[in-house]
C-alpha cells in the first residue's frame, strides 16, 4: 500500500511537470492534457433520488445528472462506473475510476485518502423510525436500540461515535437499510434526509414511518456537504471539476437539474401504479435476462479456464516429479483454503494495486484496468481449477491399475494409453463430481455481483430495491439458475448414459 499510496501519487504529480519541461506549452492546455480520456466516474445506483437504476437499466438521479452536466461543461468524454458505496474510495485509489460522484460527504477522515472538490450539495442527516415507536433521539434514549446505517458512510461514523450504547447495524446499500427498517429488524435508520424522504418515506408503506429528532449537521462528521472525490494529487481533474461546478451553478444548469429532481420526486410517487402494469416482473424482465447472459458467459469462460488448469494440475499431482507434485499440491491447497468472496475482493482491489505498481516499474503511468468480469473469470477459473484437479485425480485413481498396465504392456505410449484406455474410463468416474463442481462454479458467479459486476444478482438487487419486492426478484433469480441447472443435468445425463454402456449395476430388491 505504501507503493500505491505514495509512489503513484508522486508520479502523478510529476507527470504534468515533466510534460511541461518537454513541450514547453502553456499551463491551461496542460491541465486539459492531464485529464484522463475517458474520465471514469464512480456512481452508486442504489441511493435514490441521488442515484438509482431504472427498469430499463439506465442510471438516473441527481448525482447522475450532475455528473453528466459537469462532463459536458468540461468537454470531456466520461463513462459512469457503477460501484458499491463502500468500495468507492478503494476503487478510486486502485485506479479503477478517476472521480467519485456519489453524494460523498467531505470529511477530514476521507481527506487523508482522497482529495475533494468544492461541495455540490448539502443536506442534513436524520433519524427515521416507526411513528408509533416513541424513540427519544438522544444517545440515552437510543441505548440498546438497533440503528441501521450504510457501511462506511458519514452516518455510520457519526452513529458509531455518538450512539455508543446502541447497536449499529451496517449495510452495503441504503435500500437494504430501509428494507430492514420495514421488516422491523432495526429500530431506526440514520441517513441523509432527502434520500430517506424520497427513497423510503414517500414510498408505499412509508407513511407508517417519520423523521424523529433534529437535523444532524456537525461539520466534524458531515463535513461541508457532498463533494466529488479524486485521487490524492490529481489536481488537474480537481481544478477542472471545481471550475465546472462553478460554471453550471452560474449558467442555470444546476437550477434546471434541481427542478428536474423535484419533478423526479413527483414521478417516484406515480411510478408504482405505472410499474404494476408492466408484467409480473414490473418491467425488469429484460434487465434480468441481460444479467443472466452476463452470468452465463462468465460461468462458461471460468469453466474453460478451470478445466485447463485441472488437467495440468491432475497430471502434475500424479507425475513422478516431486517438484511438480509439490507445486500442484501448493496450488490446490492454497486456493481451496480461501473463500471465493475473499479471493475475489483481493483480486479486484488488491490486484489492481499490484498491476499499477508493476506498470509503474515498467515505465507506464498506470496499468490496464481489471474489470469485474475479468476479475470474476480469473478468480472463479483459478479456484475451480483446484477443485477439478482433485476430481480428476480421484477419477484417475478409481480406474483399476491393471487397465493401464495392460495398455503399457501392449506397447502403447503413456499418452495413447491415457487417450484410449484410462481417459474414457476415468471420465465415467469423473462425471458425477464434475457435474457437482460445475453446478457449484455456476452458482458461485452470483458473488461477483459483490464487486460490482452487473450480473443477474446485481440486477435483481436493484429491482428489489426499487420495487420493494425482494422475494419476487430473488425467486426469479433462483428460477433462472434452476433453469441453467436443469439444462446442465440433461446434458450430463446424456453423456453419462453414453459412457455407462456395458457397466453392470446392482439391483435393490
Amino acid at each position: 500500500m505504501i507503493i500505491r499510496g505514495s509512489r503513484l501519487v508522486g508520479w502523478r504529480r510529476l507527470l504534468p511537470c515533466l510534460l511541461a519541461c518537454l513541450s514547453g506549452t502553456a499551463m491551461p492546455v496542460l491541465a486539459r492534457a492531464a485529464l484522463p480520456d475517458p474520465v471514469r466516474i464512480g456512481v452508486e445506483g442504489a441511493y435514490p433520488p441521488f442515484s438509482e437504476v431504472g427498469p430499463d437499466g439506465e442510471l438516473k438521479g441527481f448525482d447522475i445528472d450532475i455528473a453528466r452536466a459537469l462532463c459536458a461543461q468540461m468537454r470531456v468524454r466520461c463513462v459512469l462506473v457503477q460501484q458499491n458505496f463502500d468500495g468507492m474510495i478503494p476503487a478510486l485509489n486502485a485506479n479503477k475510476i478517476d472521480a467519485v460522484i456519489a453524494s460523498l460527504s467531505i470529511t477530514e477522515e476521507r481527506r487523508k485518502s482522497v482529495d475533494f472538490t468544492d461541495k455540490y450539495y448539502k443536506t442534513p442527516g436524520r433519524l427515521v423510525a416507526r411513528r408509533d415507536a416513541a424513540l427519544r433521539p438522544t444517545p440515552d434514549g437510543l441505548a440498546g436500540r438497533r440503528i441501521g446505517v450504510q457501511r462506511a458512510s458519514t452516518y455510520d461514523r457519526y452513529a458509531t461515535d455518538t450512539f455508543a450504547r446502541s447497536e449499529i447495524v451496517r449495510y452495503a446499500k441504503l435500500d437494504d437499510v430501509f428494507l430492514d427498517l420495514a421488516a422491523g429488524r432495526i429500530d431506526a435508520a440514520f441517513a441523509d434526509s432527502v434520500a430517506s424522504y424520497v427513497g423510503f418515506l414517500r414510498q408505499p408503506g412509508g407513511d407508517a414511518y417519520a423523521f424523529v429528532g433534529p437535523d444532524f449537521i456537525e461539520p466534524r462528521y458531515f463535513g461541508n456537504g457532498a463533494g466529488i472525490a479524486v485521487r490524492k494529487g490529481d489536481t488537474a481533474l480537481r481544478d477542472a471539476l471545481n471550475a465546472a461546478i462553478a460554471a453550471i451553478r452560474a449558467n442555470g444548469t444546476y437550477a434546471a437539474i434541481q427542478s428536474r429532481y423535484v419533478d423526479f420526486d413527483l414521478y417516484v410517487d406515480a411510478s408504482p401504479a405505472a410499474a404494476a402494469s408492466a408484467g409480473p416482473l414490473h418491467g425488469y424482465a429484460r434487465s434480468l435476462l441481460q444479467g443472466a447472459w452476463v452470468t452465463l458467459s462468465l460461468a462458461l469462460l471460468s469453466l474453460l479456464l478451470a478445466l485447463v488448469l485441472a488437467l495440468l494440475g491432475a497430471s502434475a499431482k500424479l507425475s513422478r516429479s516431486a517438484w511438480l507434485r509439490a507445486i500442484a499440491q501448493a496450488y490446490t491447497t492454497a486456493v481451496r483454503s480461501v473463500p471465493d468472496l475473499v479471493l475475489m475482493l483481493l483480486v479486484f482491489f488488491g490486484g489492481q494495486a499490484l498491476v499499477n505498481a508493476l506498470a509503474l516499474r515498467l515505465g507506464y503511468a498506470r496499468g490496464p484496468d481489471i474489470d469485474p468480469f475479468v476479475a470474476g473469470v480469473l478468480t472463479i477459473g483459478f479456484i475451480y481449477g483446484a477443485y477439478l484437479t482433485e476430481t480428476f485425480r480421484g477419477a484417475f485413481l478409481s480406474v483399476p491399475a491393471g487397465q493401464r498396465e495392460a495398455a503399457l504392456a501392449f506397447g502403447m505410449s503413456p499418452w495413447l494409453s491415457f487417450r484410449r484406455i484410462v481417459g474414457p474410463q476415468m471420465l465415467r468416474h469423473a462425471l458425477p463430481p464434475l457435474l457437482n463442481n460445475w453446478l457449484v462454479l455456476l452458482k458461485s458467479t452470483a458473488i461477483v455481483s459483490v464487486i460490482g459486476l452487473t450480473d443477474l444478482m446485481q440486477r435483481a438487487g436493484l429491482a428489489a430495491g426499487a420495487t420493494h419486492q425482494p422475494f419476487l426478484f430473488y425467486a426469479a433469480v433462483g428460477g433462472l439458475y434452476l433453469g441453467f441447472t436443469a439444462c446442465s443435468e440433461a446434458a450430463f445425463g446424456w453423456l453419462s448414459r453414453r459412457l455407462d454402456v456395458g457397466t453392470r449395476r446392482a439391483v435393490y430388491r
Binding site: S337, P339, G394, N436
Partner: protein, 233 residues
C-alpha cells in the same frame, strides 16, 4: 501505519473468527443430521418417498446460496403475515437466516453425496448381503451406510470446506464474520491487501486444520479399501 491498522483491527478479526466458527458448526451439525435419513430415502425404490427428497436437493443444489440467503433474509420480510407472526423475532435475525441457509445447503449436498456413494457400491457386496438373508434395514446399517460414509470422506471434506467458505456470505447480511471484519477494515483504512490477506490467512489455517483432519480420517477408514489404487503412481 499498515501494521498499526491491522493491530487496531485485531479484536474485529478475533470476534469475526468466532462468528465464522459458530456459523460453520451449527450449519454442519444441522445439515449432517438431516442428510443421513434423507440419503437413505433418496435411494429407496419407493417413488413417493424418493421424489420429495429429490425435489428438495434439486432446488437447493440448483440455486446459489447467496440467492437462498437473500430469499430468507430480504424476501420473507416482503410478506405482512410473516412480519406479523409470533416467530418473526427469530425469523428476522440475521443469525437464523444465515444458519438456515447454510444448513439447508449443506444438507442437500451431503444427501446427494451419500446417495451417490450408496448407489455406486460394488453390486457384489449388496448381492452377497442379500444372499445372507439380511433385511433391508440390516443391509443399510451393516453394509451400505458404513461403506458409503467411508467412500464419501474425500467428498465430504470438500463439502465442509465449501461450507466454511460459504459462511463468508454472512458478511453480506450484516453479520461480522471473518470476511465482514476484512471488508470493514478495508472500508475503514482503504488497505485491500492487508485486510483481505489477513482474512485469507486465517481461512487458510482453518482449512488446513480441516483438511488434515480429513486426511487422517481417510488414512484411518478409507486407505484399506483403496490398497490397489494407491500403487498406480
Amino acid at each position: 501505519m499498515n501494521a498499526q491498522a491491522l493491530i487496531d483491527s485485531l479484536p474485529l478479526y478475533a470476534s469475526g473468527l468466532w462468528t465464522t466458527l459458530r456459523l460453520l458448526l451449527a450449519s454442519l451439525l444441522i445439515g449432517g443430521c438431516l442428510a443421513l435419513p434423507l440419503a437413505v430415502l433418496r435411494c429407496l425404490p419407493t417413488p413417493w418417498l424418493q421424489a420429495p427428497v429429490r425435489a428438495f436437493t434439486y432446488v437447493i443444489r440448483g440455486t446459489p446460496m447467496l440467492v437462498q440467503l437473500f430469499l430468507l433474509y430480504y424476501g420473507l420480510a416482503q410478506f405482512e403475515f410473516v412480519r406479523d407472526s409470533v416467530l418473526w423475532p427469530v425469523l428476522s435475525s440475521a443469525w437464523f437466516c444465515a444458519i438456515a441457509a447454510f444448513a439447508i445447503n449443506s444438507c442437500a449436498y451431503t444427501t446427494e453425496m451419500l446417495a451417490g456413494a450408496i448407489r455406486a457400491l460394488p453390486f457384489g457386496e449388496i448381492e452377497a448381503a442379500q444372499a445372507f438373508g439380511m433385511s433391508r434395514a440390516q443391509l443399510m446399517r451393516r453394509i451400505v451406510l458404513p461403506a458409503a460414509m467411508r467412500h464419501c470422506l474425500p467428498a465430504y471434506g470438500n463439502e465442509v470446506v465449501m461450507i466454511l467458505h460459504g459462511t463468508s456470505l454472512a458478511s453480506v447480511v450484516t453479520l461480522m464474520d471473518l470476511t465482514g471484519a476484512a471488508r470493514e477494515t478495508n472500508a475503514r483504512y482503504y488497505l485491500p491487501f492487508e485486510a483481505f490477506i489477513a482474512a485469507a490467512a486465517i481461512y487458510f489455517l482453518l482449512t488446513f486444520i480441516l483438511v488434515s483432519a480429513f486426511r487422517a480420517a481417510e488414512r484411518r477408514w478409507l486407505a484399506p479399501l483403496r490398497r490397489d489404487a494407491v500403487n498406480i503412481g
